[in-house]
Symmetry: C2
Subunit: 419 residues, 2 copies
């Protein structure tokens, strides 16, 4: 029986890989325009790194194992612990704020159900060493810009914003002991998917007041500042205050947010917030921090659903048609010079009839065919525009390995490769 | 004690990551100009996939473990078995030849010695479904072009080319039984690092003839055709026939090659060849194939040694200087419009003195500073060229979220991000 990929792991054939790379390209460009620098860490870490952050319960969900040196290892389930480890270890060398991004592949050992993946890619953008709310604004603006670059608008998605401190202050004002806060946040986190009576029960005597705050979209000074700035940026339509957003995890400390499609057909598309305590927990170094993660799976499902799947167009700018094998070396020289000049070039690697070569050129979506025949000796060749279906003879010159045409080739270098 | 990365695994801080990404960019662009399409597979496969290709001995070198479902798993040590699995499974859907590339991270469980890595990245380019020698020429030309793009010439590197068939024919002519061929190839593979007497001993009665063929750089018709075409392409200076090159592994079937630095200070930089039997072995589908792999570690060591380390330059095109917090919203709007227009933009996320903001702009290597002050109400701001140290007032307009300046900003979008 032929070998198969492991359950929950994807093969990226060129078609799917081109979609993935187009998405990564949007992520990369958006982050860099916002001044974020790329970093990366190992796909494996000591299991204890994740235990330290999330407690022992996390182990059940991890893709963990013992290595040959008897170490307890996990394939990284998220990037933030690695970031906290790296940033903590060398933070003195970097000017603050540090604005870093990464596109790691992440792993979980989910029960293998139909379509349930054990890996995905996730864009992570984090700002370290900045306490000011300006960082929240920058991060949310960056996140929204990435959606706009993918062709989405506030009609398609919503950024639901909350503040963990809103509730922490509320609970402190009610003299609820700290050790009960986590349970409270859990109740909020679950309320969208739970029977309202059940939620009321969990919230107990606080229920009325809590539900009232949620319904009236209550805010505090911090939320208002973030909202005002995002409004000034013209991003108001994307934002909804939603105090039910607590981001499940225990480690967020301030403003948190989560992105959903408006129709609510999909799981959360992205999420993040401020986590001022984590770097210290992992590395012993105090460093305020905030960030978000966006996976490749949900956003690509949504984009597909909306008919907006990204794709890098890749096709030869020029396909060389070799009229006779006697001219193969000339054609190769031409291919070399064209490629050196920045063009994507293909030709038939094996001898083939001229008609067949034109056919392959068409199938590959080439923009131009250059016919290499006896004229080549006089520095001329036939240039066929495969879309306009026009052919003319052109003169060319190769010097320093680069090629120029007379009249000039109506095609910019790399033009055929840009999505 | 703070957490550390696992032995043999690298952290890529922004500085190192920028070098890595610059190298990947050269690999990606070169492959795409040659019409190769990107693919990727899972970083984990069944251990048996590698056993099937390389025998049981390979297991000692692999980063393998048992997963929670009691499967024997390995982190991929090379890409070719995954490629053979994927290509075999769906080859009917693709026109031949398939020209595919990937940049996977690969893993080995080497004994943890100083500086010995357990992971590296490797550029893989393969051509599947093409028997003609035109494929070898294309692949070697592509490989050389990637070196030229990195600033290397035939003075820096050499491509040593051989043909496994040269020796297979030789051994058949001598009636040496097939089962002794592997041993013969092992002797050739080791001879550069071994005492000549030891080699003679291993080669036995064939020694004189074999050494004579190697010394005289003997060729066969296939090698001559490849050499002639590469010569026509102007790549002669890069190529040396070297019949000692057998590429250690058992699965190569035809032309093989290996790239070394001329000074021979480093391990092989890249290597590859034709492996017509592998896809069938893995997937049961006959598909001729050839390819090469180039790791990130050796080439970056060589480039560093030659002072040619690649690097993507990333710096803000524009740094916004906020003269007073009252203008922060205006500055944010401007940042949004500039970024939407393709510029890399930064500004101080927290309130800061104007002098400090200019200092940060300089530290970050920004090309221009835009001073946002009271003039902003009239659609004007101060533009300072931070390199020419010239300042002038310019008018601007924001419409549809994009910004235009009068006079125009002397900076192309993304210009500051290109390496």
């Amino acid at each position: 029986m032929p070998f198969q990929n492991l359950p929950g792991f994807r093969d990226f054939y060129p078609e799917e890989c081109s979609v993935r790379e187009a998405l990564f390209e949007v992520w990369r460009k958006t982050a860099e325009r916002y001044g974020f620098e790329r970093y990366d860490g190992p796909p494996l870490e000591l299991l204890d790194l994740y235990r330290k952050k999330s407690g022992d319960e996390i182990v059940g969900q991890l893709y963990n194992f013992k290595d040959k040196g008897d170490r307890e290892i996990a394939l990284r389930p998220e990037m933030t612990p690695t970031l906290a480890r790296m940033a903590g270890a060398r933070q003195r060398e970097f000017k603050k704020p540090m604005k870093w991004y990464a596109i790691p592949q992440l792993f979980r050992y989910e029960r293998a159900q139909r379509g349930r993946l054990r890996e995905h890619f996730q864009w992570n953008c984090d700002i370290l060493g900045e306490e000011s709310l300006g960082a929240e604004v920058e991060l949310i603006a960056l996140l929204i810009e990435s959606f706009e670059k993918l062709g989405l608008t506030s009609k398609d998605i919503v950024v639901r914003v909350s503040d963990r401190e809103f509730w922490s202050e509320f609970l402190r004002a009610k003299s609820i002991p700290e050790e009960q806060h986590y349970e409270f946040f859990q109740a909020l986190d679950k309320m969208e998917r739970e029977d309202p009576e059940k939620t009321r029960e969990k919230l107990g005597p606080l229920a009325d007041e809590v539900l009232q705050a949620i319904e009236s979209r209550a805010t505090n000074a911090r939320l208002r500042e973030v909202l005002d700035r995002l409004t000034a940026l013209g991003l108001k339509d994307y934002i909804e205050v939603d105090l039910r957003i607590v981001r499940g995890l225990a480690y967020y400390t301030g403003v948190v947010f989560e992105v959903h499609d408006r129709e609510r057909q999909f799981r959360a598309i992205a999420g993040g917030g401020r986590y001022d305590g984590l770097v210290e927990l992992i590395s012993g170094v105090k460093l305020p921090a905030l960030g978000f993660g966006m996976g490749d799976v949900v956003i690509l499902e949504l984009l597909k659903d909306l008919g907006k799947q990204p794709k890098r167009i890749k096709r030869p700018g020029v396909f060389l048609v070799i009229s006779d094998e006697a001219f193969r070396d000339d054609a190769l020289r031409m291919a070399g010079a064209l490629r050196k000049s920045g063009y994507a070039v293909e030709y038939s690697l094996a001898p083939a009839k001229v008609g067949k070569q034109f056919q392959v050129a068409e199938e590959k979506g080439a923009l131009f065919a250059l016919v290499v025949d006896a004229q080549i000796e006089e520095g001329r060749c036939g240039l066929k525009d495969l879309h306009a279906r026009r052919q003319e003879d052109v003169a060319f010159q190769i010097s320093n390995g680069r090629i120029t045409f007379q009249p000039a080739l109506p095609l910019a270098p790399d033009e055929s490769l840009i999505g």
